[in-house]
């Protein structure tokens, strides 16, 4: 193609227009290739502790139905038969309920820790466990700051059990079971970005009622589950001093140092070997 001055200026103009248009669109549309995670927003102020989420979770995943009820002063925990629990806490604003399950971190410690990638952060959001890869080393449990993965100690072919954000249902285009079946609308499923906006709106509209903090927006580098409540989250059994950056960042430096050491150290050792070799040996 023969490019003359006029055509060149013309194409430059088009490119300029395209750039500005592209930019203005970019603010609305997500850039190509960047994944947008889904998430769950849990509003403690709406939750009445009816345990519907627990029952529907047990039914969906074929687990035992819960037999105990949330009670202030008793901390119920998730375990190999229970992927989510509702707890009741006596707070400065009276009794409040809180739901617990895997937080589905944006950059999960368990995913990084797993040496076979059995723990896997999917593109949509759920952190899932893949049975065909796991060797049961439980390093995910060591690494998870929320102690989410649970292990079947009583089994000869144990599984790692935790909330999967109903990854199978998401694939079918359905909502996670707990979000669909919450009678109080305390659990909202949606794009994580939209949920943060929604949470901000709720806090903004009723600043007296809500404590001004979205737990999970920055905690552990951002989590899939987002929490808003009437009181600070440490009154509801959550660690508020948790890292605001992702946990895998803690091992990044070490992982990065491996290749240089593997490559440079043998050379250095060989150098020392050559230097310390006695003259007698060299003659031989």
């Amino acid at each position: 193609m023969d490019i003359n001055r006029r055509n060149f200026m013309k194409s430059l103009g088009f490119a300029g227009v395209a750039l500005t248009v592209g930019k203005s669109h970019g603010a609305e549309k997500k850039p190509e290739g960047e994944t947008e995670f889904y998430g769950m927003l849990y509003d403690s102020t709406l939750c009445m502790g009816c345990q519907n989420c627990e029952f529907t979770c047990a039914e969906t995943h074929g687990l035992e139905e819960p037999e105990d009820e949330p009670e202030a002063g008793v901390v119920r925990k998730t375990n190999q038969n229970r992927r989510t629990v509702i707890n009741c806490y006596e707070t400065s604003q009276g009794e409040a309920y809180i739901k617990q399950q895997c937080m589905h971190c944006n950059i999960p410690a368990c995913d990084t820790a797993c040496l076979t990638q059995a723990m896997h952060k999917t593109k949509k959001a759920p952190v899932i466990w893949r049975e065909d890869k796991c060797m049961g080393c439980r390093y995910c449990m060591i690494s998870c700051p929320f102690d989410s993965p649970k292990f079947e100690y009583g089994s000869t072919n144990p599984k790692i059990v935790k909330c999967t954000m109903c990854a199978d249902r998401l694939r079918e285009g359905k909502k996670p079971a707990c979000a669909e079946n919450c009678p109080m609308g305390a659990i909202t499923f949606g794009k994580r970005r939209d949920l943060i906006k929604e949470a901000r709106k709720r806090i903004h509209d009723d600043p007296e009622y809500y404590h001004n903090h979205i737990y999970g927006e920055h905690e552990a580098g951002g989590t899939g589950w987002l929490y808003i409540a009437g009181v600070p989250m440490n009154e509801l059994g959550f660690d508020t001093n948790i890292r605001k950056k992702s946990y895998p960042a803690l091992t990044k430096g070490f992982i990065g140092a491996i290749a240089p050491v593997d490559i440079l150290l043998p050379g250095a050792l060989l150098g020392i070997y050559a230097a310390t070799k006695s003259p007698k040996e060299e003659e031989e």
Binding site: K77, N79, Q80, A109, T112, A113, C114, L115, T116, Q117, D132, K133, C134, M135, G136, C137, R138, Y139, M141, I142, S143, P145, D147, K150, F151, E152, Y153, G154, S155, T156, N157, P158, D239, I242, R243, Y247, P248, L250, T251, G253, F254, I255, I258, V261, D262, L265, P266, L269, L270, I272, Y273, T276, K277, S278
Partner: protein, 407 residues
């Protein structure tokens, strides 16, 4: 436990290799020794417990909880055991890289010890894995979790085991009288040593790095971002302390294998110096980390006292003893210091992986008696195999004449 003077080299039978190997399988020492009488029943119980573990799951024999998923089998057998086996790479460095011939007489036995330690620790690791058959996934790439510290540790661990086997293989060739194989294997030693040291530095530090993400779970006195470095440095003197203890026991048990030219004293003093230097370096780093992490606030707590017991009682005091023996050599002092050093390493690794892990948990993890028995079983099996090999191959005793001028 003293062994009667053996024939120095196995007598070759006319009926070939098979007959030779069958003959070698027979016990060579006394059968009714105190050690055998204690270890045998424990090993039998241990094997039953291992069977129960595989037929009923980990929960049947261990006290592991959902909050403390790694117990004695990882905390002692793997995390502590790997540090104790550090002597193999340090001695290989001294003898082959720094060309310090003085330590050569104890090199082979240390390499063997290291290799067996790794072999049995990985065995302990398999016991602890919930789905042990899937361990193959790491090797065949289903999938390669390259961002995982555990992946690095696993691969470096595995390759180092091969390097150790290669470093030890000339002894096997000498035992089998395989001259050609001996020549080839000896030629590969230097390569194995160089890669072995590299692999060691990385997996020793990797074991510290395993706990980096457990930032909120380990008591701040034991968790810091320098853990990988601290673990490598402590593995140097921890490994050497084990070499000192193992050497003094071997000298009694296998006394007939040592000859006149073995300068035990001079070796021991050299090792004591390395320990003193390594521990001084470790203490300086510990103090720097302590100040940097602003840990002084914890000192007034019970955990602070426990920390001081570890650092002062089992690093500082043995370091002083090692230093003293540098000035005025005393074998007893060196041995006491070595035992204390080993206890210090044990305390440190147990604190990081078990005791100070989830220190705030409502229900603390205490290992079950079954976990202890299985751990002892693994150690005893290792010692039995070690003894079997030492009595047959030229490990402590000198190589046969045809192999002398080589490595």
């Amino acid at each position: 436990m003293k062994e009667k003077a053996n024939t120095l080299y196995p007598q070759r039978k006319i009926n070939g290799t098979v007959g030779f190997l069958l003959n070698e399988l027979k016990p060579k020492g006394k059968i009714f020794t105190v050690f055998n009488m204690i270890s045998l029943p424990i090993m039998l119980v241990g094997i039953v417990l291992i069977y129960i573990r595989f037929s009923q799951g980990l929960g049947a024999v261990t006290n592991l909880t959902q909050q403390v998923p790694w117990g004695l089998w990882i905390g002692f057998d793997v995390v502590t055991g790997v540090a104790f086996a550090g002597g193999a790479y340090v001695l290989a460095f001294l003898v082959y890289i720094l060309n310090l011939k003085k330590f050569k007489p104890i090199l082979r036995v240390t390499i063997l010890n290291g290799f067996l330690a790794y072999l049995f620790y990985s065995g302990a690791l398999l016991l602890d894995l919930g789905r042990p058959t899937s361990v193959i996934n790491v090797i065949i790439g289903n999938n390669f979790g390259v961002s995982s510290v555990m992946f690095l540790v696993g691969w470096h661990f595995l390759l180092y085991m091969l390097a150790l086997l290669l470093e030890f293989s000339p002894a096997i060739a000498e035992w089998l009288n395989a001259k050609k194989a001996h020549r080839i294997l000896s030629a590969a030693t230097l390569g194995a040593v160089i890669f072995g040291i590299t692999l060691s530095v990385l997996h020793q530090s990797g074991i510290g790095a395993l706990f980096l993400m457990a930032e909120d779970k380990i008591h701040p006195l034991w968790h810091n971002s320098y853990m990988p470095l601290m673990f490598v440095v402590s593995s140097i003197f921890g490994g050497i302390a084990l070499v000192i203890i193992e050497g003094s026991i071997s000298r009694k048990v296998f006394s007939s294998q040592y000859d006149e030219s073995h300068d035990h004293k001079s070796i021991l003093h050299g090792l004591a110096r390395i320990c003193a230097g390594g521990m001084f370096l470790y203490l300086v780093m510990t103090v720097l980390v302590f100040i940097h992490e602003q840990n002084a606030v914890y000192l007034s707590t019970t955990w602070g006292a426990w920390y001081l017991v570890e650092i002062l009682g089992f690093v500082f005091v043995p370091m002083l003893l090692f230093c003293q023996s540098c000035i005025k050599p005393n074998q007893i002092v060196i041995k006491i210091a070595a035992v204390m050093t080993l206890l210090g390493i044990l305390l440190n690794r147990m604190n990081v992986s078990i005791i100070a892990f989830r220190w705030d948990a409502a229900e603390a993890y205490v290992p079950s008696w079954q976990e202890f028995i299985v751990t002892l079983t693994i150690i005893f099996i290792e010692i039995w195999v070690f003894r079997w090999i030492v009595r047959r191959m030229p490990v402590i005793r000198k190589s046969p004449d045809w192999a002398k001028d080589k490595h």
